[in-house]
Homo-oligomer: 98 residues x 2
């Protein structure tokens, strides 16, 4: 059992960490809100959110508001559980340093 | 200023996070000790420690004990500073969720 076993590889990226953090406390966020909060490019946000969607940690819903495309993001139950476990592992690792 | 700006890209990997955590509290650790603590392969440990060495966050010293090669790792002053900043950013991100 290694020190980092409970650290989730899928969250080993600051953009994914940021997306999950934001979705933990906001029921639904759209593309532009996420982009602004994280200060990342469209391409980065797209690719990392797709990775989280594939893992079923978040859902991505595309629709139109008038003629404008709108993409909304939400966290899933399993995403919440996985992220909590990851945060616990990080806190454990950090505390082991104090 | 994005929510994840202070999260260091170089520490965006659990193995690097683990190496830094261990070296924060141990003045010097050798290859086998690190490998055991992290439960990772030789190749993974080598490649991630080299990345941290290139960034001047750790030093790697190779020598021989008798006929056996021995590789020792230590954190640098700038590594300590960078890691503390990273941990602060992670704690900030985590706390913003509570």
């Amino acid at each position: 059992m290694g020190l980092i076993d409970n650290i989730n590889k899928l969250f080993d990226h600051r953009i994914r960490l940021g997306i999950m953090s934001i979705l933990m406390v906001n029921d639904e966020v759209d593309f532009n809100q996420l982009k602004e909060l994280l200060d990342v490019t469209d391409g980065n946000l797209s690719s990392h959110s797709k990775t989280l969607e594939k893992a079923k940690y978040i859902t991505i819903q595309k629709s139109f508001i008038g003629k404008k495309p709108n993409t909304r993001y939400a966290i899933t139950q399993s995403g919440k559980q996985a992220f909590k476990k990851h945060i616990d592992a990080l806190e454990h690792l950090i505390k082991s340093q104090e």
